[in-house]
């Protein structure tokens, strides 16, 4: 009886082991389909279907239709586009990419791509880099996180960053006539705004304490880094002297120009766009998606009431901004890597980038050349974002970065400092010990 039980236990353990290992079909990280030598101009793939996963609100229907139309012309294959929600996407993508029938092309945030790349979920596309780049110089903030140990796993799709959005009427009422270029001009303008709007809940520049993207800008401006890579090991460096200086500057600025109630809150509870739209803030720091959110929140505002500029730096001309955005990855286990390469090549081509990604959606294109090509068409609600992007940085290309973001470590770091619950040294020490664990 006991022997039987032991045998049964061993057998079930064996089955479990097979099941866990079995997902990869034994071929390691490689794909089962044959890879082409270069990206072909055309292939005969009538009847095949390419599955593409796109994150909600990243690309609109027109952009996707334009890509698909060109794709079908070149290949004869159909495209099945599936829009995915943000909540739970890590689980969804990790499990789906592990199966033998994964989506072929996936849209991944540039801060998340390193994890999938380093762990073997995505196809190594280093050999196709030139074919995909099509003579463009990709923005480094998009390409770097998708590059692990010199191997490329992602293709830049579009960029997004933060800049100051300001309420022209309020600024004019405060007697400000020109957009600030230097830190001194900025603080003088914000002081003028504060003087003109004495209400206690008014913020010259509303800056939620958990808005870590802006916190990082201060850190970078003062020469600090959030993490450093040495001999293949990541270490979290919020506690370095330069980083601490930046955190101190963040606190000073936040406390001086944003209402006290904003010290502990996040940028979406309450939404800073709503506060801005209600006239309770002279400016906010947000991505270009915020423009629409503001206009939706207050129908009396029009685009002509809004302006944008890059936040001046205390050290640099403009503060370095975190370059967000999105890259295309191809599943390592895709059955159609050739079709996936062709589709992606179209999606990142100048044609699509300039006419649709920028022209139709107002997003920042993926390369320096494409940005230069659209520079003449920038209105006042776009120019600030493009200016700010000229000095941009990326988050650490560590697979553990997803966990740092997912566990809200940065929110805690910057909000505890802003509220005075911890000194910069204390908060940085707490953060570093947790982030060190996550990064490696």
């Amino acid at each position: 009886m006991r022997k039987n039980a032991r045998a049964a236990a061993i057998a079930t353990a064996g089955v479990a082991a097979l099941l866990l290992a079995g997902c990869s079909t034994g071929t390691g990280t490689g794909t089962t389909a044959a890879l082409p030598d270069g990206i072909p101009d055309t292939v005969e793939a009538d009847g095949d279907t390419l599955t593409v996963w796109v994150m909600q609100d990243d690309y609109n229907d027109e952009t996707l239709a334009a890509i698909n139309e060109r794709f079908t012309e070149r290949t004869g294959a159909e495209v099945d586009v599936q829009i995915q929600q943000w909540d739970g996407i890590t689980t969804k993508l990790s499990t789906a990419l592990a199966t033998t029938t994964p989506p072929d092309v996936v849209d991944i945030g540039n801060t998340q791509v390193a994890g999938y790349a380093a762990n073997g979920a995505l196809l190594d596309i280093t050999d196709y880099r030139d074919d995909l780049a099509q003579d463009q110089t990709w923005l480094s903030g998009l390409e770097e996180p998708a590059t692990v140990d010199g191997t490329l796993y992602g293709i830049p799709g579009f960029a997004g960053n933060r800049a100051v959005i300001y309420n022209k009427t309020l600024w004019a009422d405060a007697g400000i006539t020109e957009v600030p270029i230097t830190w001194e001009e900025l603080t003088a303008d914000l002081d003028a705004l504060a003087a003109a709007n004495p209400a206690p809940d008014f913020s010259p520049l509303y800056l939620p304490g958990q808005h870590w993207y802006v916190g990082l800008q201060f850190m970078w401006d003062h020469g600090g880094e959030i993490a450093a890579l040495e001999d293949g090991e990541w270490s979290s460096t919020a506690g370095s002297d330069a980083s601490l200086e930046g955190i101190e500057a963040w606190k000073e600025f936040q406390n001086a120009y944003s209402a006290e109630s904003s010290r502990t809150v996040s940028a979406d509870k309450p939404e800073q766009e709503q506060i801005f739209a209600d006239g309770k803030a002279g400016a906010i720091i947000a991505t270009n998606g915020a423009i629409n959110a503001i206009l939706n929140a207050n129908p009396e505002l029009t685009e002509a009431d809004l302006g944008t500029f890059a936040l001046p730096g205390q050290i640099d001309d403009t503060q370095p901004v975190m370059l967000g955005g999105s890259v295309w990855g191809i599943a390592a286990k895709s059955a159609h890597p050739d079709l996936a390469l062709i589709w992606t090549q179209i999606a990142v081509s100048s044609d699509i980038q300039v006419d649709f990604v920028f022209g139709g959606q107002g997003l920042m294109p993926n390369s320096e050349e494409n940005i230069a090509a659209v520079a003449g068409d920038l209105g006042e609600t776009k120019i600030g974002f493009f200016d700010a992007a000229l000095n941009s940085r990326a988050t650490p290309a560590s697979p553990g970065w997803t966990e740092v973001e997912g566990a809200n470590l940065l929110q805690d770091l910057f909000s505890t400092v802003a509220s005075g619950a911890a000194t910069p040294e204390e908060a940085a020490a707490t953060y570093d010990s947790k982030a060190d664990e996550a990064l490696n």
Binding site: V15, T91, T416
Partner: protein, 308 residues
């Protein structure tokens, strides 16, 4: 074993019928619950992670995994937090639920229907929707709860209070949300049982001159005991593993101070995709929960089986 004629054997002694009755549920549980559980237990002894998902590579770490968890200060902090928060949730929802059930017996038909409808509405609201409503009601700057509390002029200006950013407030709003949704099930189940208390017992006690509270304590409560026991143990199990509400309100923050075992496991398994450790955590959680509830489980299993 001798075969007796069917009519000669007591119904409860039949051998084949229970096997046939159990078979469908047994098969389904074996295939869709038990097999994954075996996989999970196996995983708990390995370093299975996101990379393993894609490559199928992992190695055994054995009991070291459990040793690491059990010596992790964060784990124990989360564990004790879970214990007292579960206690607060269970006590809160049981006391209010049982009280409401008794209240309903004192109401006229019309008012009782109103209470029932109100309870059903709270119960029926899916917890995804309830959490959205909570976030909206408690939103700093625009939330109605902050506005109401400010109008009371007791707590000062609470307009901009962020409930998720303060440990005490975060727990309070999560407690309110969970209790709000838990009370209807408890109240309605208890009420259903309370309507079956024989009126003759109560009448007899009344004729003996017993006071209303005394009648409730000596007649009604003993009758309700099995029901209350069942809903209590279910509440303990559910509240111990409560996750959605905490995640949606505070994400375990600020600084991990509302991170219960459920949140801790979720972050390990789904944010870090450290599946091996997540599985080990889940096993430990289940064992601790089983140990805590073992006395009651024995009681629950024994109760009501006396006739058999």
């Amino acid at each position: 074993m001798t075969t007796r004629p069917r009519t000669g054997r007591a119904f409860a002694e039949r051998r084949l019928p229970p096997v046939l009755l159990m078979a469908p549920a047994g098969l389904v549980l074996a295939a869709v619950t038990f097999v994954p559980l075996v996989v999970m237990v196996f995983m708990a002894f390995t370093d299975y992670d996101q990379r393993s998902l894609f490559t199928g590579e992992f190695s055994f770490v054995g009991v070291q995994q459990f040793a690491d968890i059990l010596t992790d200060g964060d784990f124990w902090a989360a564990f004790f937090r879970t214990i007292w928060f579960t206690a607060a949730l269970v006590i809160g929802s049981i006391v209010i639920g049982v009280a409401i059930s008794h209240l309903m017996t004192k109401l006229g038909g019309g008012m009782r229907t109103v209470v029932t409808v109100v309870l059903v509405f709270a119960w029926a609201m899916p917890n995804v929707a309830a959490s959205l409503v909570w976030n909206w009601m408690f939103q700093p700057g625009y939330g109605v709860v902050n506005w109401l509390l400010t109008q009371l002029r007791v707590f000062g200006d609470m307009t901009a209070t962020d409930w998720g950013a303060n440990t005490g407030l975060a727990f309070t709003s999560i407690w309110l949300l969970v209790v709000w949704q838990a009370v209807p099930f408890i109240a309605l189940t208890t009420y259903a049982a309370e309507t079956q208390v024989g009126p003759e017992y109560i009448e007899a006690a009344r004729l003996d001159g017993a006071s209303e509270p005394r009648i409730y304590r000596t007649v009604t409560l003993p009758f309700l005991k099995p029901t209350i026991l069942l809903v209590t143990i279910l509440s303990v199990i559910w509240d111990f593993n409560v996750f959605n509400q905490i995640w949606l309100v505070s994400k375990g923050g600020p600084d991990g101070s509302t991170s219960t075992l459920g949140v801790f496991t979720y972050i390990t398994a789904f944010v870090g995709l450290d599946l091996g450790t997540g599985a080990a955590l889940a096993l430990i959680t289940a064992l601790l929960l089983a140990a805590i509830t073992s006395v009651y489980i024995r009681h629950l299993i024994r109760s009501g089986e006396d006739d058999l």
